[in-house]
Amino acid sequence: MDKFYHSVHLDEKLCRGCINCIKRCPTQAIRVRNGKARINSKFCIDCGECIRVCPHHAKQASYDSLDTMKTYQYTVALPAPSLYSQFNNLEDVNILLNALLLLGFDDVMEVSAAAELVSEATREYLAEHQENLPMISTACPSVVRLIRVRFPNLIPHLLPLNPPVEVAACMAAKKAMEETGLKREDIGICFISPCPSKVTYARTPLGVQTSQIDRVFAIKDVYPRLLSCMKAVGEDPKEIGTSGKIGISWGRSGGEAGGLFTESYLAADGIENVIRVLEDLEDQKFTNLQFVELDACSGGCVGGVLTVENPYVAEVKLKRLRKYMPVARSHMDVEHTEEYMRWTGNVDFEPVFSLGQNIMESFAKLNQVERLLGRLPGLDCGSCGAPTCKALAEDIARGEAREEDCVYYLRESLHKLSTEVSRLADDMAAGEKDGKETLRLLKEYIQKISDDMAKLDEEKR
């Protein structure tokens, strides 16, 4: 699988080539070319911001359809903690968990239960590794991808533990095989996800070779079906839930850090805020921090683009739900959990933002960018298809755009040419100079003008 696999893609038919997504992409991964948005797969971190802002719904997330459940003999649902926050007046998680069984899943393994194990393992890891603090959470795949391409100095600070969903998937697969005697390929481990970033994780995980997650469903797809199933769950639902406050809280920003029993943590949410924190971390502006929790979405996982509820309302619901829960209900004494926890692979720096192949070439290109910046208007209008004049300058240096892509540059060029044309026409009328030569020049300039005009038309297409 391509190491730059993505779960965010474009529906060309719907794209009108506006500048909303290019302006909001935190890694400047999108350009409008020939009237359609193009995502640079090396820069994209699957944060889903473009899905959120596209007014034409042309940016879409890839995830599995619920029908794919039928391809397995036995299925296990892995509900994300954020799923619990989507319903009004949900007082008992068991109603939701039993509804998942009614929906057709054979078993349920709560991601929040695995989250409590990860919290425990993180506490142990921090106690044993005081030399490399702060550790940065690796639960949000977009954040890990962002660090991989942009913050090489922070890679050693990544917490080398699998995210709760992976631990839950490992546990669920083992349990299902033991209980049913089925082969692994006949069992479908299905994550019900708040975001497309987890789809990317399931296909191309970082930290482990392959993920145990077989299918990723969207909360927004499962939601309407769950509502009717929840009504069908009786008065006294079977006790399935095995997680407490700590596990459920992972669904919102600060929840993961809160489970570490330390005050020395920082939790930031929203991709722009996350980038600011990473920049400052890189410059060593924080001292005495044990842990840094970063979530690409505002509010944490409850803010994922595949959820249905407003993230801040969802947070309130999560708070109410956990009010009468015990602190934690799942512990590391479960067999094999240790081996499901640790990373088995490394995360390597991918210098995708380098301008050239080597330092000399990059230096030359950086030089070119600086010179170009002096000529471009600095309006960051986006009309060229790049989010800023600087991004256009970088594209030109990379050989992926031309100066004429800038409408202001083009206008200037047209202006100069038309001045020349009228001067030549005046010369001809006055009968000065060689008439034939002037006529030739005049034709040449007119040709240039129509070439430039053609470029403008090209932009519109």
């Binding site: 410059d283 720096f349 301008l355 330092i359 000399m360 990059s362 230096f363 950086l366 600086e370």
Partner: protein
């Protein structure tokens, strides 16, 4: 090939903008594909210097010269000057007033960190005239 010369005006007493210059340089070095460790050194050394100019010197000008071999950062101000350079270089020594310390700055690690993270540092200072600090990070 000609060097890339970047100039930054540092405004006095503006903590919200302090760090903008070092951040810009850092991102350019990343685009240049400079080794992460060297990027880190430049970012930390320059940020410390930038903050010092904001706190002590009522701003100034930073000139960064980038070549494929090295980064030279020249931080020039017309501030009060440093009366005792040796003392100022000691870790923990600080003349920052309380209101600066309450912002979390002024731990007395500015100059020591600048020295620590640069490969070469020269301080040219005169009381009442100003200070120019030149730091070099080799690539």
């Amino acid at each position: 090939m000609e060097a890339i010369v970047l100039k930054y005006e540092i405004s006095p007493d503006d903590f919200t903008r302090a760090g903008e210059a070092s951040s810009d340089v850092k991102n350019k070095l990343k685009q240049m594909g400079v080794a992460p460790e060297a990027v880190r050194k430049v970012a930390i050394a320059m940020y410390e210097g930038e903050i010092n100019m904001v706190i002590h010197a009522k701003g100034g000008e930073i000139t960064v010269t980038i070549t494929p071999e090295k980064i030279v950062m020249e931080l020039a101000d017309v501030g009060p000057g440093i009366p005792d350079v040796e003392l100022a270089m000691q870790a923990g020594y600080s003349t920052a007033p309380d209101e600066i310390r309450s912002l979390g700055f002024g731990a007395g690690m500015g100059l020591p960190n600048m020295k620590k993270y640069s490969d070469d540092m020269k301080i040219d200072t005169e009381v009442g005239v100003g200070t120019t600090i030149t730091m070099v990070v080799n690539l």
